[in-house]
Every structure is written in C-alpha cells, then in structure tokens.
C-alpha cells in the first residue's frame, strides 16, 4: 500500500490540503472541528481507527480548513467567514471528482456541513453531525468563558493546555497529552488559534436548519465536555429529516472514547447495514492494576506520582512482552499472551508502585477478548473486579491463571472464592506470591572488609606477614614485643574476618597498592 497522498485543491486564492482514502461506492467528506492536521491524524490510534473504519465503506475525503494544518495560512487578523470556509468543502469535492457526497461534520465542522447542505442540496447525499451545534454561545460557552479560553490559548498554546476542555478523560494519558500538544502546534499558530476561537464564537446557523433536506443523523456524547448535548437535541427538532442518537461518554473529539460505536452508527446510517462485528477473539491474560492513596497524597502529589507510575507501567509492560491496553482513572489495564508474564509484570509493578510511594492492588484473569480495540468484555470486567477485591499490595488471580502458570516458578496460595453477578458459579481465587527458586535462599554477604579498617601499625604487620615473617621477626623489625605483635595479628584476623595468618597474607597481596595494604 502506498502512503496516503496529500493533494491541494484551489479555492479562490488559497490552497486547501486534502487526502482521499478508501474504495467505497459513495463519497464521505469529513469536515473537521476547531483545528486539524491531515498528517498527524494518522499518528493517533483513535483517529486512525476512525478513518480506517469510515474508509472501509466509503471513499473518504479529508481536508484541513484554510488557516489550519497543511492548508494555506491566512491572515490571522482577517480570517475567512464561515461561508468562505464552506466553499472550501466544495473546492475539495471538485478536485477529488466528487459530485455528491455524504458530509460528516464534527464539532465546529457541523455548522459548516449544515451550511453546505442547505446551500448545495444536490451535492449532499446525507448529513452526519457529530457533537454539533447551531449557536456557539448558547451551547459551547458563554462570552465570559470564551475570553478566558482565548487568553489561555494565547499564553499556553502548543503545550496541550486545551486538552481538559475537550477530552478530560484523557488528561492522565501522558502519551495522548503529548500528542495533543503536537496537535495544537502543528494545526494552528497561537494567533490563528485565538482568532479561530473568536471566529467560531460568532457561529449561528439556526436560520438555515429548516432548509436542510438531506437525511441527517445527529450523534452526541451524553456527557460531552465541550458541547452541551442540548445542542443536538435542538438540531433534532429543527432539521426536518433528522434522527438523534446519544452515545455514552464525555470526551468531545470524535476520535476519542468509543470510536467504534460512533463508526457503527455512521456506517449503518449511510449504508443501511450494520457493520459486521469484528468477532476475532483471542485467548489473553489481562492484568488490571489499581493504584490508590489519593487522599493521603493530595491531588498534586498524586498527579505527579500517577504520571510517573504510568510511564513506568508502559516500560514494564513492554519489557514483559505485554501491551498497554488503556487506563480508566485509577485502573490501568495491560494484556499479555501468557499468565506467567502477566504475573511477573504484576510483581514488577507492585515494586514500582512501592518505590514511587503509592498503594497498588492487582487482578489477573485469563479469557477470550476481542483481538482489536481495548478489552471491554466479560474477561475485562472480571479482571477489574478482582483488582477491586484485592488488598493492598496483593496480586489476586483466578485459579485458572495459577493452573496455566504451573511450572513458571510463580508460587500461589489459596484465596477462597468470589461470587460475581455475571458468573454462574463463584470464581476460585489465588494470591500470587514472590517467585520460588529451587536453589537455597542466599544469605546476604557481610560487607567485605576494607584495608582502611586497619590501623597504620596493623597494616605494617599485615605486610610483614605477607612477606612470610614470623611473629618474632616482625617484633624485631618493628621494635615491638612479640606479645604486642601477637595482639596485632589477633586484631587483624578479627577485623578482616579471616581464619588464619595465611589468609591475612593473601588479603594483603590482594589489596597491595602503591601505599601498601
């Protein structure tokens, strides 16, 4: 497969970057929200999943609005009107040879798509509006909050500071937070971002809603953090041929949260057929790690430690041959091919949590999960409940995990049963203990003696012993009594924990330096 080509459509004086992907019999134009960058989208797991799903049943046409992403920059102080930007959609469709297309308007892209649909009904096959609205101040934010948002965008643009406003559920996902910072920087300059926000605030397309004749699907997350779900309820009342589907979730960007659910709804609406469920299932071991102690640590310290722990988690999971499968608040999910690897990783994570100063409790279970996407089925729910049931520092596993890990060297003790609503019978549990080695436990060695522990006189005596001299000869050489030499030798053997004169001689030879032992 050759890389996706980025082309440029001419719209007036501006060049609009666009990509075409997929081989479906009808065209689908994705009208992006606030900011976008065609190249960067493919680097995010959720975004590329959404695009792959949509392009599996359509010829998907993607573009960056003028002033954003890969399209021409415009004078940030004189940004184009909504009408001009809507006309960019037409220019891109013309360039891609699309006479008629379904439009998917996401967030700020929704008013643009509505305007297009009302203006060019003959070119609109259908309309899908995700997290959309007709009037900014009424459903996104009132003027006073907008000023604060713009000020924040101007001072902290490019750092990912806007993430909590769009996807609060992903703030703790350090990898996504970093991506979001790049997304900001590569999608718009700080001045353009502030100007775009100001311009979007002027959006009011309520008067065109009655003129939309295309069949319309409205999708909105029930607890959307950015756009009030009432915005779509209003659209459902005003657009003649519209149907509203509210989906669970609070993160606003269309490529976050349950992307498959959104793609399923769109596919069914546009093709008349529900996507065939991807029922490829595999046997896997899931590890759910619960870290806590929030109350004891305080929010700030918790947040720092939580981030550190997540970085360590990704590292350790990779090192144990697993895959990080997502985080949900205090719950961290990893996936492994073998129970022994999951258990060893759990032990390493327990140690890491201790080092960082957090409490951990973990659950391990084995079962079938779907090959693609985050683990969400019964196996995931059981594992999560085991983690909830586990005590501080515990690695609580189902008996099945222990049976499969036989011979791995991991040791288990019986931990009774747990009754779970979803299971007919109580689940037998074990606690994973530290690894049991076949060789006897080694006692910690005493700290090896250092030559510096000896006095200057004792060092002289050791040197002479190493020369093979007797106590009498040493006494004569050092002008000491033989009794004193004997006492020195006894002290030396005691200090160095050595059994004999010969051993002391060998020690001296080992430690001899330019200044003697």
């Amino acid at each position: 497969m050759r890389p996706i080509e980025t082309r440029y459509a001419r719209s007036g004086d501006a060049r609009i970057a666009y990509q075409v992907v997929g081989q479906g019999s009808f065209d689908l134009v994705l009208v992006p929200g606030f900011i976008s960058n065609l190249d960067l989208h493919w680097e995010d797991e959720g975004y590329s999943r959404l695009l792959r799903r949509l392009s599996a049943f359509s010829r998907l046409i993607l573009f960056d609005k003028r002033g954003t992403g890969l399209s021409d920059r415009v004078d940030a102080h004189h940004l184009p009107s909504l009408e001009t930007r809507m006309d960019d959609v037409r220019a891109v469709m013309d360039a891609a040879g699309s006479g008629r297309a379904a439009l998917l308007g996401a967030s700020e892209g929704a008013p643009m798509a509505m305007l297009f649909s009302a203006t060019y009904p003959e070119r609109t096959r259908a309309l899908v509006l995700y997290g959309g609205y007709a009037h900014f101040h009424k459903w996104v934010m009132p003027p006073e909050r907008l000023d604060a948002f713009i000020e924040m965008a101007e001072t902290a643009w490019g750092t990912g500071a806007t993430l909590p406003h769009f996807a609060p559920g992903r703030v703790d996902d350090s990898r996504f937070a970093l991506w979001w910072g790049r997304f900001e920087r590569l999608s718009a300059s700080p001045t353009a971002a502030a100007a775009l926000a100001r311009m979007n605030a002027g959006i009011d397309v309520r008067s065109v809603l009655g003129a939309i004749s295309a069949p319309t699907l409205l999708l909105h997350r029930r607890n959307d953090a950015r756009v009030d779900p009432d915005a779509s309820r209003f659209l459902a009342k005003k657009i003649p041929n519209a149907r509203l589907v509210e989906v669970p979730g609070r993160d606003h960007p269309i490529w976050t949260g349950d992307v498959d659910r959104v793609a399923d709804e769109i596919e069914e609406f546009l093709t008349g057929q529900r996507a065939v469920a991807e029922v490829e299932r595999v046997l896997a071991t899931l590890l759910v790690t619960r870290v806590y102690d929030t109350a004891r640590l305080g929010d700030r310290m918790w947040s720092e430690r939580s981030q550190r722990f997540q970085e360590t988690w990704r590292l350790l999971v990779g090192r144990h041959g697993g895959r990080s499968a997502g985080t949900h608040g205090e719950l961290i999910i990893s996936r492994f091919d073998s129970p022994a690897r999951a258990l060893r990783c759990a032990a390493a994570l327990r140690y890491a949590a201790q080092e960082i100063g957090m409490a951990s409790a973990q659950g391990v279970h084995v079962g079938e999960i779907e090959l693609r996407g985050p683990p969400v089925g019964l196996t995931a729910r059981v594992t999560t409940q085991l983690a909830a049931h586990a005590g501080r520092g515990d690695i609580l596993a189902s008996r099945l995990v222990a049976d499969l890990a036989t011979g791995s060297g991991v040791h288990f003790t019986d931990a009774g049963h747990i009754a779970l609503d979803e299971l007919d019978e109580p689940l037998a549990l074990v606690l994973a203990m530290s690894e049991q080695h076949l060789e006897p436990a080694c006692h910690a060695k005493t700290r090896p003696a250092e030559p510096t522990a000896l006095t200057a006189r004792e060092s002289e005596v050791v040197s002479l012993i190493a020369d093979g001299k007797s106590n009498a000869a040493i006494a004569a050489e050092l002008r000491l009594s033989e009794h004193t030499v004997k006492r020195h030798v006894a002290n030396i053997l005691l200090k160095l924990d050595l059994p004999s004169r010969a051993a002391a001689a060998a020690f001296s030879a080992r430690h001899a330096g330019p200044d003697g032992p």
């Binding site: 075409v20 081989q23 479906g24 019999s25 040879g97 699309s98 006479g99």
Partner: protein, 120 residues
C-alpha cells in the same frame, strides 16, 4: 430507458456507463437483482451485496455523481451471460479497473458480480 422488449446488450451498457447515466443503468436490472462487489474491503468470502432495484439505483447514482471517466473496453455476450471490462480514472489520476460478469433474465440483469482494483 429500456422498453420491455429491448434486451440489455454490451453496446447499451457501454453507452450508459461511459455517459455516467445512472438512471439508464438502473433500468437495466430486474426488480430483485443482486449485484455483488468484490474488492479489497469486500473479500470473496464476504462480498458486498446490493439487493433490489432501489439499492442498485442508489449505487449507480453514487458512482455516476463522480466526475470521472469510464471506458468500457471489452464486452462479450454468450446467451444469457454478458461480460465486460471497465477502466476508470479520477481527476487526480487514481485509476480503477473492474471486470463484471452478468446473468440476464428476460433481457434484464438479474445477477452481476464485479471484481475491482484501485490504485493505492
């Protein structure tokens, strides 16, 4: 449009496809016709199926709304079977090649299987 007595043939198909005449194309099918499309996303064990004249009309309307060129090169007729190849190009240069096998019933298309490949 076809009259009841006029049978679909290679020349009619060539004219409708190259002229991007969706209405004409959909009139070639029986009411309960089945079009199967096999391509990268729709493998042979699970081809995309478009059933009935309404769905087939939408299918051809979508295809014909695209500002692209179609060229029907070869048509072969053998009793109630008809086959043709089709070379298409988008304005950006992307090429698509398709081969279609059709079964006719009373002069109309009852069943069609299209195998297509795209530049990618």
């Amino acid at each position: 449009m076809l009259t009841k007595t006029q049978a679909v043939d290679g020349a009619a198909i060539k004219k409708a496809i190259e002229g991007r005449d969706g209405k004409m194309l959909s009139s070639f099918y029986t009411d309960d016709a089945l079009v199967r499309v096999i391509d990268r996303n729709n493998p042979p064990s699970k081809p995309r199926e478009i059933r009935g004249r309404a769905a087939i009309t939408t299918f051809w309307d979508d295809i014909c709304s695209r500002a692209m060129t179609h060229k029907v090169d070869t048509t072969i007729a053998d009793g109630n079977s008809l086959a043709f190849t089709q070379a298409c190009a988008y304005p950006d240069g992307t090429k698509v090649f398709a081969a279609a096998m059709l079964e006719l019933n009373n002069g109309r298309i009852a069943r069609q299987t299209v195998v297509q490949a795209w530049d990618e």
